[in-house]
Subunit: 110 residues, 2 copies
Amino acid sequence: MGATKTSHFTDRQNKVATTMKALAHPARVAILEYLLKADACICGDIVNELPLAQPTVSQHLKELKNAELIKGDVAGNSICYCINEKSLEMLQKYFAGIAVKLEKKKNNCC
Amino acid sequence: MGATKTSHFTDRQNKVATTMKALAHPARVAILEYLLKADACICGDIVNELPLAQPTVSQHLKELKNAELIKGDVAGNSICYCINEKSLEMLQKYFAGIAVKLEKKKNNCC
DNA sequence: AGTCTTTATCGTAATATTGCAATATAAAAA
DNA sequence: TTTTTATATTGCAATATTACGATAAAGACT
């Protein structure tokens, strides 16, 4: 074994897990936070910002893109990566929903 | 190589990534959602709920506990696992903060 | 005491992730 | 067209994760 048994869980649970996995590495968190505060979003800037080699950063960008957390537009010679607002809005709502449910529960256990 | 270069990132970025990693598996998302809706929080119930063997579930529970997303109290013979509200509140605020920053940016790029 | 029930841990095989050097690709500049 | 610049891909070694059978540990119940 060793592979995640995705088929046994709901699409929703797999989607959440996949999105979380994309943020389960400090480099990818750093990329997201950089895109959030920077004016530009050129790949080269991100590579310069991070303490990792260019191929490694490229791989992390690919994973963020696969998870639809960012999108990349060709800008002449380079690529402009930007945050995909929809996915982050989804995450925000997911945790806001959890907070509401927790509020309703009000520690009625443990 | 193969190990994450945590030392090159901020404590905050590593903390976020670690918390996300704990939710980067559908079984752990399912556990969280079960604890959110269930009245009880006994380990055995979780094992019955999930399509995985008992040792596997135990391992996932341990990871959620290490990430401080849940806590486990001994209840006689069994263990009562509950959601750690503080960590989920932290996550909710993290994504709410991102949403605010995105609002301010208002798509001024790409 | 012995037995049952519940949960954790160990050991290990299968698979996935991380990181980077080397190389490929493709548009821009000369 | 050649060269430079920017990014992606390939290949591979090191490490981490996932899953589970076997077994251990610890409280509950005769």
